[in-house]
Amino acid sequence: MRIALEHLTKKFGHVVGVEDVSLDIRDGEFVAFLGPSGCGKTTTLLMVAGIYRPTAGIIRFGDRVMNQVAPKDRNIGMVFQSYALYPHMTVFGNIAYPLKLKKVPKQEQIARVQAVADKMGIGDLLDRRPGQLSGGQQQRVALGRALVKQPDVLLFDEPLSNLDARLRLVMRAEIKHLQKELGITSIYVTHDQVEAMTMADRIAVIQNGRLQAFDTPDDLYDRPKTLFIAGFVGNPPMNFVDVEIEQANGAYYAVSPALRVEVPPDRGAAAAAHGGRVVMGIRPEDITIDPTGAVRGRVFVVEPLGRDDLLDVELDAHTRLHVLADPKLKVGAGDPVLLKLDTQKVQFFDAATERSLLWQ
């Protein structure tokens, strides 16, 4: 089922929940809505579900305008962060409820519920009540309930936020696998960018109710179109330095009081064409501690992350860079270090409009 949102807007009185969001979701595609808490992800999802009525704009499933269609006639399945199971019904009752409402014959109900429950690995829990299940099991029941009616569209609202880290990893893989296997068009809301990056075909980044970008994970990471996206996608976040571009002997240099590094000619040229001051972005993993490095700094804070140490390196009073370093180097706070910047993936943005100078 193809889904199209056109200039979708939702206001609660004076509070703007979602403003002018337009995007197209292809049939069978897995799309993530990514954004900080309170940015309007849930609101958008609930409009797609038919719970909220849009203040303005159009929602289409296929070619059909859905704005006036009741939730029960949209044939969607939804999984909530709170699971939203019916506490007074058994697991069977919960999963069978959509079928019961569709007046599916009892025998078929039993067969279909059993099939879905087996698929979700909860086939032996059917006569328990939600209160007797663990969080992970409850989430599986919720997923089963959303799947059992063979929906055209699957909606997920932060379904994994209440699970522990390990279980989240398992469920992440399972949901992704299921979605690909069943080929159901899915929208997955999350504030966790790792979740979005790993699971989605395309990610819609939302901020303050507005759509910031709608791209594949790779494009968002390697070719961010705005400063916001560059800073939002990726963990630890990208470093930004105000620089000027100098050209000498056919080479391009990004220069600030704290550093002077050579940048690739194509990117340098695009930035130089803009002229004046630009914002340079470089990811922490593209910076290494190296005795041959050209940038001098002093370690301000060390945050051990396990596999890496995250260093906060002070270049001068105005410039700090996040650097991922090998813990074996055993650098401590206060140590002077030399940094080497791998500028192959360096980004440039207009300081005023915050738009990328490299990608449009």
Binding site: G50, K72, A84, P98, L101, R145
Partner: protein, 535 residues
């Protein structure tokens, strides 16, 4: 074996406590005793205040409680007395309890200290009781003479000189035969004296030689010191202190619960005994002669009494009450749950105003609206058809008014319960394919079942005990409820049989009692609903 292995003392309790109490100084002991005595005096003071507050209640009980809930004065007085008598024992227990840590080190010493402390407290308490004229020094109504029962009447053996009997002119050797013209035994005379107030005048018919004369004797307040009571008090004090020293801590909650529940339990016991008795003396049933006995079914006669002109049959009254209570429960549940849902889940103009208005209405005393509602009911009565069922002097009308008074509470309660259900569950049901209506009764209502049960029971009970509204808006006995029936028992011109009233009261209470026994699980579970994992 030359190496010295460190020898450890066997561990005995918490060392810090032990050291602190190893040697208990006389100063400490005195301090504890004085402290306990202060606590006692405070408790006594509270007891006195409680008693003073209860006393007028006792005398005006019939007026205050109208019909159903009349309390015999002896009962309240018994409770008041019990409070004051028990208070010192708390102090003895405290005195003993203070020595508990010492007991794990040295039992004998702890016991001795506790007993000493209790004895000091006892002396202080006794002094206090003397000052306040309570306990063993309480002043009792008395005629200030010594009497003995003989065949020829009650013989006056001694008269306290200057006492009230002396002043009235009664001399030793006189024989008392009657109060006014009613012949009495010594037991009856004593009861009469005990039940009268200081200053009342008892007119004694006295035979002196061959003459017969009436002496009006004013009842005086006399302090009779009973040494036996004092000794018993001391023994109990020591016993309490001793028990407190070795009291297992785990029993305390039960002991407290029992102590708190005891007066209540005694109240119910008393009610039940009273209904099967001719008369009661404290908890003892007594017959006309004041002797123990006199059990009777007389008070339960109302169960099979035929209806007479002004007295309806109890069964008809019970049916009325049942109809009104059930109707109330059904209507209140239906309207409250739907209104509560709308107020909790929907946004409509006037929602907040409506909410605050209902709250105000809930605080409105029903009595102030009686006259206005009378006019409303009379006007409803003028509507054709409908008026016959919901007008003035109909069961429907009464139920309607009572439902109206119950609804504000119900609506607010239900709104609160709906507020507690996460939105997501409702959304989930809508997406699963349910209509809003179906979501309401298939998904939401089951989740607030404890609330529905509680509200239903509240509504039923308030209908079952209804008095003011049925009494006001009905003429004659057509729509009388049980409470109204009880009231009629008191407003007769004949002397009131309080024990019969107790019996009807017990009869009225039984269904409510059963209801609570079966529903208490739900009532207690009210706050345990909701969904795990919902945020």
């Amino acid at each position: 074996m030359a190496t010295a292995t460190p020898q450890h003392e066997p561990y005995m309790g918490s060392p810090a406590d032990d050291l602190a109490f190893e040697r208990i100084s006389t100063g400490e002991l005195v301090f504890q005793a004085v402290y306990s005595a202060l606590v006692t005096v405070m408790l006594l003071e509270i007891g006195v205040i409680v008693f003073r507050v209860l006393e007028p209640l006792v005398h005006h009980a019939p007026a205050l409680f109208g019909s159903g809930a009349t309390i015999d004065e002896t009962f309240t007085r018994t409770i008041g007395n019990a409070l004051m008598t028990l208070a010192p024992f708390l102090a003895y227990a405290v005195a003993g309890h203070k020595m508990k840590p010492l007991a794990s080190v040295n039992r004998a010493r702890a016991l001795g200290a506790a007993l000493a402390a209790a004895a000091i407290v006892f002396v202080l308490v006794t002094m206090g009781q003397y000052v306040f004229r309570i306990g063993p020094f309480a002043e009792r109504p008395s005629l200030e003479m010594t009497l003995r029962q003989t065949d020829a009447g009650i013989l006056v053996e001694e008269v306290v000189s200057g006492g009230t009997a002396d002043r009235a002119g009664i001399r030793p050797g006189d024989r008392i035969t009657a109060i006014r013209r009613v012949e009495v035994t010594l037991a009856e005379l004593n009861t009469a004296v005990r039940q009268s107030k200081v200053g009342d005048v008892i007119r004694l018919r006295v035979e002196r030689g061959d003459e017969e004369e009436q002496f009006p004797v004013e009842v005086a307040a006399t302090m009779e010191i009973r040494p036996a009571a004092l000794v018993a008090g001391l023994v109990i004090a020591l016993l309490f202190a001793a028990v407190a020293v070795f009291w297992p801590g785990g029993w305390t909650p039960y002991a407290l619960l029992i102590a708190i529940m005891l007066p209540l339990a005694v109240g119910y016991l008393w009610l039940i005994i009273a209904t099967f008795s001719f008369r009661t003396e404290g908890l003892l049933p007594v017959n006309a002669q004041g002797e123990v006995g006199g059990l009777t079914l007389r008070n339960w006669e109302f169960l099979w009494r035929e209806a007479t002109g002004s007295n309806p049959s109890i069964w008809r009254v019970t049916l009325n009450t049942l109809v009104i209570a059930t109707a109330m429960m059904a209507i209140v549940l239906l309207v409250s749950s739907m209104a509560g849902y709308a107020l909790s889940r929907m946004n409509f103009p006037g929602r907040r105003t409506f909410l605050s208005l209902t709250l105000i209405l809930h605080g409105f005393p029903a009595v102030t609206l009686l006259i206005a509602i009378f006019f409303v009911l009379r006007n409803i009565g003028n509507i054709p058809v409908l008026g016959d069922y919901f007008g003035f002097n109909t069961r429907g009308g009464i139920a309607l008014v009572m439902v109206a008074f119950e609804l504000p509470l119900g609506v607010w309660l239900m709104k609160g319960f709906f507020d507690g259900i996460p939105w997501d569950i409702e959304r989930s049901a809508l997406i699963d394919g349910a209509s809003r209506w179906r979501t309401f009764y298939e998904i939401l209502l089951p989740q607030i079942r404890p609330g529905l049960l509680a509200l239903g029971i509240f509504a039923f009970i308030s209908g079952w005990g209804a008095y003011l509204i049925p009494q006001t808006y009905s003429i004659g006995t057509k729509t009388a409820t049980l409470a109204v029936y009880i009231n009629q028992l008191t407003s007769d011109t004949a002397p009131v049989n309080w024990n019969e009233i107790a019996a009807v009261g017990l009869f009225q209470m039984l269904p409510v009692f059963l209801l609570f026994i079966f529903a208490q699980e739900y009532l207690l579970n009210i706050y345990a609903g909701g969904t795990k994992g919902s945020s």
